[in-house]
């Protein structure tokens, strides 16, 4: 393995045309930009859950933790608490973090832990051959719902606004430069950064054409206004709406959990004496 290159000589097993290629490229671009800005390569850690998104660990020559399904963020939280100096990027899927692991998503946002989560939102369970997920539209015909799913999609951006995320954005894998910029900003943001990435699935839910028609880039929106940001998340709620905004919806500063939990640690010089002192009081 080449230590300085971000690439690995592994075989890529995503389908040709898969949206994940764009996300991989944008992540590499962002890491290169951030390295130039002074973040050392060895301080990046990328965690994933299980799903098509997660194969990314085998394509990136950086520290990675390839976790369990739904637990990409759960492991990342522990890594950040263990070493707050690391730059955490979590890649997760809609099935991974909106279905199986949604509790961790809500709580990581609530705590404002300083890391970046990228949701490869292809709006179905792709690696398990195309079942409906939390962001599949109602009526989605997959192998588990041949007559169409009965549940409407939920709106993950609105959920993140309500949960306390301090950086909320949406990107589109087909707009790599825009996405690179979003990821760079997200990693630089001190706090919980969330990017839902529109990620067409060529095998089970090919949405390229639809997105290409409807996606537009947000400009001059007031990112510090919770009210405005929340309203913008309603423009397209993954079920209804005409245009699909991408870009930063919300960005504010708040204290981070990893910093606060690590802030008042005091080293015990002699643990034996400390334990003896404790036991003395227990006589």
């Amino acid at each position: 393995m080449n230590k300085n290159d971000l690439d690995l000589p592994t075989k890529n097993t995503w389908c040709p045309g898969c949206g994940n290629f764009g996300i991989l490229q944008a992540i590499k671009n962002a890491i290169s930009i951030l390295e130039k800005k002074g973040i050392k390569k060895e301080n990046f850690v990328l965690t994933t859950g299980i799903g098509c998104h997660a194969k990314i660990v085998d394509y990136l020559n950086i520290n990675t933790f390839y976790g369990l399904h739904g637990r990409a963020l759960a492991v990342a939280v522990g890594i950040k608490i263990g070493n707050p100096n690391l730059k955490l990027i979590t890649c997760s899927g809609d099935g991974d973090s909106y279905n199986e692991g949604i509790s961790h998503l809500i709580y990581a946002a609530k705590r404002n832990i300083d890391l970046t989560i990228l949701i490869h939102n292809n709006r179905n369970f792709a690696l398990t051959t195309g079942q409906y997920s939390a962001t599949s539209p109602k009526g989605f015909k997959g192998r588990s719902t041949p007559m169409g799913s009965l549940e409407a999609a939920f709106n993950p951006l609105e959920l993140m606004m309500a949960s306390g995320a301090t950086f909320v954005a949406r990107g589109y894998t087909a707009k790599i430069d825009h996405l690179t910029n979003l990821i760079t900003q997200a990693v630089e943001h001190k706090g919980f950064s969330f990017i839902d990435i529109l990620d067409p699935c060529v095998a089970w839910f090919n949405t390229y054409e639809d997105y290409n028609k409807r996606v537009y880039e947000l400009k001059d929106n007031e990112v510090s206004s919770k009210e405005e940001a929340t309203k913008r998340t309603w423009e397209w709620d993954y079920n209804n709406g005409d245009k699909i905004p991408i870009g930063v919806f919300y960005k504010i500063q708040k204290p981070t959990f990893d910093q606060e939990i690590n802030s008042e640690l005091i080293k015990i010089q002699n643990i034996d004496n400390k334990i003896k002192e404790i036991l003395e009081k227990k006589i």
Partner: protein
């Protein structure tokens, strides 16, 4: 025969009887008596009925007796429930504000407390004073204790205690024993301190009785991080993440919480991440009896987790073993990069034991195999003992790839290469062999009682104390395995040499220890089981043993 006596103090939840029991234990401890305190309480915050049994003996003990010498009743309920336990020559000390027309020593505890301007909870001090007088303990000893415990706030408590002391008469003067007092500590505190000695840096836990007090206790330490996440799944995954950065990390729960952690237990094994899990058993299935005890998770912890993998499982039987074995588990986890489980139960967790501080010297933070920074870093380097050198993210020139997938030496997914798959599975199994070999020099099986008896009882965990005591009294060989995985076959064989009949004593309904031993080729003849949520009491087990074994 050892000299001994027992005191039961009971009242409603919220009345402070547990604290009171702890103070009584300390008072007697300082008189040179060896102490064990059994706690019995229910899953509620106020009302109900709580009691503690403080057993004092001239020798070390760690089991409760059914019959008591002194009953301290804060309310009528306590009197009714426990009067039958009182020995013929026993004495009742009761709350005169709530109980009328009883023989013994009546103390108008609340009246005294109110008159002296104390809070209702302080009435406990009047019972402490009264008990001290009943046992013929010098007032000075009580005064010293309260001053030490309450510091500047001792004043009111001293007045209330003195009033209780003055209202009582000496009933039976106990002697001051010529023994150095030992610390009084719960198993949960001992687990926490043992982990700290072995270098604990992060403790992550979701509240669940009877493990919660480990979290409460460790939260008071400023040198480590304690974290209470949203659920047990986050608990163990975050612990794995924290350990991946090089932090010595432990988690704790009871059976239900551990059940939620099981998928990630398998992740710890596959990713070769060192974590220590404390599992404090309580009666199940499901919610069971949250505040009571059982040994119903033995087979569960030994087999939990999908796939073939190895773990280190220890089962301490008192506070000293909890300290030592938790420390050992931490070191084993880090040396062999595998999960360890410290299996205890409510009696170990919440009862109070004597602990000899010399145990501190038995635990050290052992060094681990760290990458030598030469060549390219391979997280899963295949080595002769199966252990790969560790590097942590942030290390220059090391790319640390940990994974839940089967993988090659770098940590890259390996699905096609069968040789590779086989090699990694064998590498992980080899760590287990290396571990089994290394620990065989440690004392993994203890033998008590009559070591030549042809009749053996095998016990584990919280049944150690009662087994030791009755083994000695009845002339039986008592065998206690401390480690269940890797199972110490050789030491067990030695311990059993010359034995013709084997019995197990277990606090569960399906004789899980016997089932396990049978799988190890150790034929168990019979088992004595209790599954009411309460531990064995000395008298009842003595009768059972006499009937079944002698």
């Amino acid at each position: 025969m050892p000299k001994e006596f027992s005191i039961l103090i009971g009242g409603a939840a919220g009345e402070g009887t547990r604290m009171s029991g702890q103070l009584i234990g300390k008072l007697l401890n300082q008189q040179g008596w060896r102490i064990f305190i059994y706690e019995d309480y229910q899953s509620l915050i106020t009302g109900g009925h709580n009691f503690s049994i403080i057993r004092a003996s001239s020798e070390r003990i760690s089991a409760p007796t059914k019959m008591i010498d002194y009953l301290i009743a804060l309310n009528q309920d306590t009197l009714q429930k426990h009067k039958g336990r009182l020995k013929k020559e026993g004495l009742i000390i009761y709350n005169l504000d709530q109980i009328k027309g009883e023989k013994g020593v009546g103390i108008a505890a609340l009246t005294i407390t109110n008159q002296l301007g104390g809070k209702p909870i302080m009435k406990n001090s009047s019972f402490l004073g009264a008990l001290g007088k009943v046992l013929g303990i010098d007032w000075q000893a009580i005064e010293d204790l309260l001053k030490r415990e309450f510091g500047e706030k001792a004043d009111l408590n001293l007045k209330i205690a003195k009033a209780g002391f003055d209202q009582a008469k000496t009933y039976r003067k106990i002697e001051k024993l010529n023994q150095k007092p030992l610390a009084l500590i719960t198993g949960n505190e001992a687990v926490a301190l043992g982990a700290l000695k072995a270098g604990l840096e992060v403790y992550i836990s979701y509240p669940m009785t009877p493990a919660s007090s480990i979290l409460h206790y460790l939260a008071g330490f400023k040198n480590i991080i304690t974290f209470q996440p949203e659920n047990e799944i986050e608990v163990i995954n975050a612990a794995i993440g924290s350990a991946y950065t090089g932090k010595r990390t432990m988690v704790g729960s009871s059976g239900g919480g551990f059940a939620l952690m099981v998928e990630a237990l398998s992740l710890a094994a596959q990713s070769e991440t060192p974590i220590v899990i404390v599992e404090s058993q309580r009666p199940a299935p499901a919610t069971g009896l949250p505040t009571y005890t059982a040994q119903g998770d033995l087979l569960f912890v030994l087999s939990a987790g999908h796939g073939d993998f190895v773990r280190f499982v220890v089962a301490p039987g008192d506070a000293e073993e909890a300290f030592y074995l938790t420390g050992l588990a931490m070191n084993v986890s880090w040396k062999y990069q595998m999960p360890s489980i410290v299996l205890i139960d409510k009696e170990i967790s919440e009862d109070t034991f004597n602990l000899d501080e010399s145990v501190i010297n038995r635990v050290d933070k052992k060094e681990v195999k760290i990458w030598d920074k030469k060549g390219e870093y391979k997280r899963y380097l295949d080595t002769s003992d199966g252990v790969s050198p560790l590097a942590f993210p942030g290390e220059v020139n090391a790319v640390v790839k940990a994974t839940s997938y089967e993988h090659d030496e770098f940590g890259i997914t390996a699905e096609e290469d069968e040789e590779q798959i086989k090699r990694m599975q064998e590498k992980r199994q080899r760590k287990y062999i290396s571990l089994a070999r290394e620990i065989q020099d440690l004392e993994l099986v203890k033998v008590f009682g009559d070591k030549n008896s042809e009749k053996a009882i095998i016990i584990f965990g919280s049944n150690k104390g009662i087994g030791m005591e009755l083994g000695k009294e009845l002339g039986l060989r008592v065998i206690q395995p401390l480690v269940f995985q890797p199972f110490p076959e050789e030491q067990m064989k030695t311990a059993l040499s010359g034995v013709k009949k084997i019995f197990t004593i277990e606090t569960n309904a399906t004789a899980q220890l016997a089932q396990f031993l049978n799988c190890q080729g150790i034929k168990v003849d019979d088992s004595i089981l209790k599954y009411t949520g309460r531990p064995f009491f000395v008298e009842e087990l003595r009768e059972e043993l006499k009937k079944k074994i002698q």
